[in-house]
């Protein structure tokens, strides 16, 4: 119950922050630009060719779902990684703001447990990033749908996969703010983890480049627990392009990200309990 109160307060504060208004506005502008710049010529209903910024994407006239695959795939990747980057920068201030001297003492004097404060803040920020991700994705789906007459709801998976992938990233950012209370440091942790997560997705390919030894083992161990950001992005892209995806692999990746987030939050809760303010 108290988690819900903290959660709602985070949402209220986020709504009041001008940064989020700016983000919503810039997302809308970006969607409008895409909507106006994208020239998609639909020929004979089910057949189409696509042009982006006046450049034809493929010379052959194809069935519309096949012709638009690259567009949807690029759109899914764009949504996924834009959500990651804007989420990291947009949400890096929440943890340090909650832990600011003079605020955290006041919060801790109220009838709220530290773990409730941590969870409420975490869930609030993850919800905000999810809403922004879904706003951008649904906006793109609508624009492409109106333009082409072909409604690709598979693209929405890019939005929710981005939200799922951001959850462990933000868990790490929030917990890092318990160690160093600084928004830039939080942002740095987030970007580093996104980068490491991209590398982790190509772990198997990269391992082949390493000579057997301590370095390779260290790389393997370091990459093993990380959320595989690039692998989830590929699934989002495949889903948007109506390409076949392995549900088992997707479930494994989503579960891995969730376990990583839970482990980081558990460590954060322990750290928070031990910490003096």
């Amino acid at each position: 119950m108290t988690v819900l109160v903290v959660y709602m307060d985070v949402i209220r504060e986020a709504i009041a922050r001008k940064w989020f208004l700016a983000l919503a506005l810039s997302t809308t502008i970006a969607l409008a630009i895409v909507g106006l710049a994208l020239r998609l010529d639909v020929v004979d209903g089910a057949l189409a060719a696509s042009r982006l910024f006046g450049q034809i994407l493929d010379s052959d006239i194809k069935s519309i779902d096949i012709a638009l695959r690259p567009v949807f795939q690029v759109g899914a990747y764009a949504v996924y990684y834009i959500v990651m980057v804007t989420g990291v920068f947009g949400c890096s201030g929440f943890g340090p703001s909650m832990l600011a001297p003079g605020r955290i003492e006041h919060l801790l004097s109220l009838p709220v447990r530290r773990i409730e404060l941590l969870l409420g803040t975490y869930l609030g920020v993850v919800t905000i990033s999810s809403v922004i991700a879904m706003y951008g994705t649904i906006g793109l789906v609508l624009i492409l749908g109106v333009k082409t007459g072909y409604w690709n709801w598979g693209m929405i998976s890019a939005g929710w996969l981005a939200a799922i992938s951001f959850a462990p990233i933000y868990a790490s950012m929030l917990v890092s703010s318990l160690i160093v209370r600084s928004a830039p440091f939080c942002g740095l942790v987030g970007i580093s983890l996104v980068t490491a997560g991209i590398v982790a997705g190509y772990r198997e390919n990269l391992l082949a480049l390493w000579e057997p030894g301590i370095g390779r083992t260290a790389f393997e161990l370091l990459m093993a627990p990380l959320p595989k950001i690039s692998s989830l992005a590929q699934i989002a892209g495949h889903s948007a392009a109506s390409a076949p995806i392995d549900p088992g692999e997707m479930a494994r990746l989503v579960a891995g990200s969730s376990v990583f987030a839970a482990a980081v939050l558990a460590f954060g809760a322990w750290l928070f309990e031990k910490k003096d303010f």
Partner: protein, 304 residues
């Protein structure tokens, strides 16, 4: 019943990068009876804020026991009965006073948070600013809002760290009035203030903390009163030399004289001398030291 009970509270801050550990509290023992205004005074770095944070479980002591309102300060049920104003309250700039107080009321699980918030805003004189963003608030306004937040839910214990800091003289008088109202309601007020005159005006008991220990505690009379010195106000005195010969030293104000007498009999003998010299006195009271003087004596004594 005691609202606050602390026994042997020790807190040491670890030293990093070659710095020596610092012992902020060195065995604090303190009992604050319920329903009174208690003032904690001491120099900078004496451990006042650290003790307050330990009282609220914002930091955990290394050893010792702290009981607040008959329970542990860690328990949410106990914390619901506490109102706290930190020394430097950080307020979210994008929120309005009403939103901020409603958030506090919601965390305290009070019915009708808006009503509670408005009532406290009216009490501290910020009702007209209820929809102004906190980013534009002056220091005094922020402090008033912090006070309102502490008062939300009619807490049984108010812990106030420098409540009048940054507030203008009229505002201070309002804060004093609120504190006295809270005491009348039955609440206990634990006050930490650098302004000794404020402490003298409102506190029933005062504790002096020096080097992480409560070195003296008692009522103002117990702390500031002297056992063998009396202050006398006369209508028309003799000249200074003659008064000195009678055993009276001049006081701070014109017509004010100080005499020393070990007991009532010695005092009467001195007064008889005055009467024989046809000096009419209109006021006689035990001399009270200034709290500042007491603090200085106690702190210097603790250093030695």
């Amino acid at each position: 019943m005691n609202a606050i009970e602390a026994t042997g509270v020790v807190k040491t801050f670890a030293g990093f990068l070659g710095r020596r550990p610092r012992m902020a509290l060195c065995g604090v023992d303190l009992a604050v009876p319920a329903g009174m205004i208690f003032g904690l005074i001491g120099l900078n770095g004496a451990g006042k804020t650290t003790f307050i944070k330990a009282l609220l479980a914002v930091l955990r002591p290394d050893s010792g026991a702290i009981g607040v309102l008959g329970g542990s300060p860690e328990a949410p049920a106990i914390r619901k009965k506490i109102g706290y104003l930190p020394e430097r309250l950080h307020l979210p700039r994008v929120m309005t006073p009403l939103q901020f107080l409603m958030s506090v009321a919601r965390i305290k699980r009070l019915d009708n948070p808006a009503q509670h918030a408005m009532h406290q805003l009216e009490r501290v004189g910020l009702a007209s600013e209820r929809s102004t963003k906190l980013g534009g608030f002056s220091k005094g306004m922020r402090q008033r809002l912090g006070m309102a937040a502490a008062l939300i839910g009619a807490p049984e214990l108010l812990v106030l760290d420098e409540p009048t800091d940054g507030i203008d003289p009229l505002g201070r008088a309002e804060i004093r009035r609120i504190l006295l109202e809270e005491r009348s309601r039955g609440a206990t007020v634990f006050l930490n203030s650098h302004l000794l005159s404020e402490t003298e005006r409102v506190c029933d008991r005062v504790g002096i903390i020096a080097s992480g220990k409560i070195v003296r505690s008692g009522t103002l009379d117990e702390l500031c009163g002297t056992k063998d010195r009396y202050k006398l106000v006369v209508e028309q005195s003799l000249d200074t030399e003659e008064m000195k010969q009678l055993g009276f030293a001049s006081g701070e104000q014109p017509g004010e004289w100080i005499c020393q007498a070990s007991d009532g009999e010695a005092l009467m003998a001195r007064l008889d001398q005055l009467r024989r010299a046809n000096v009419c006195f209109i006021e006689l009271r035990p001399e009270q030291k200034e709290l500042e003087e007491v603090l200085s004596d106690v702190v210097n004594g603790a250093k030695q």
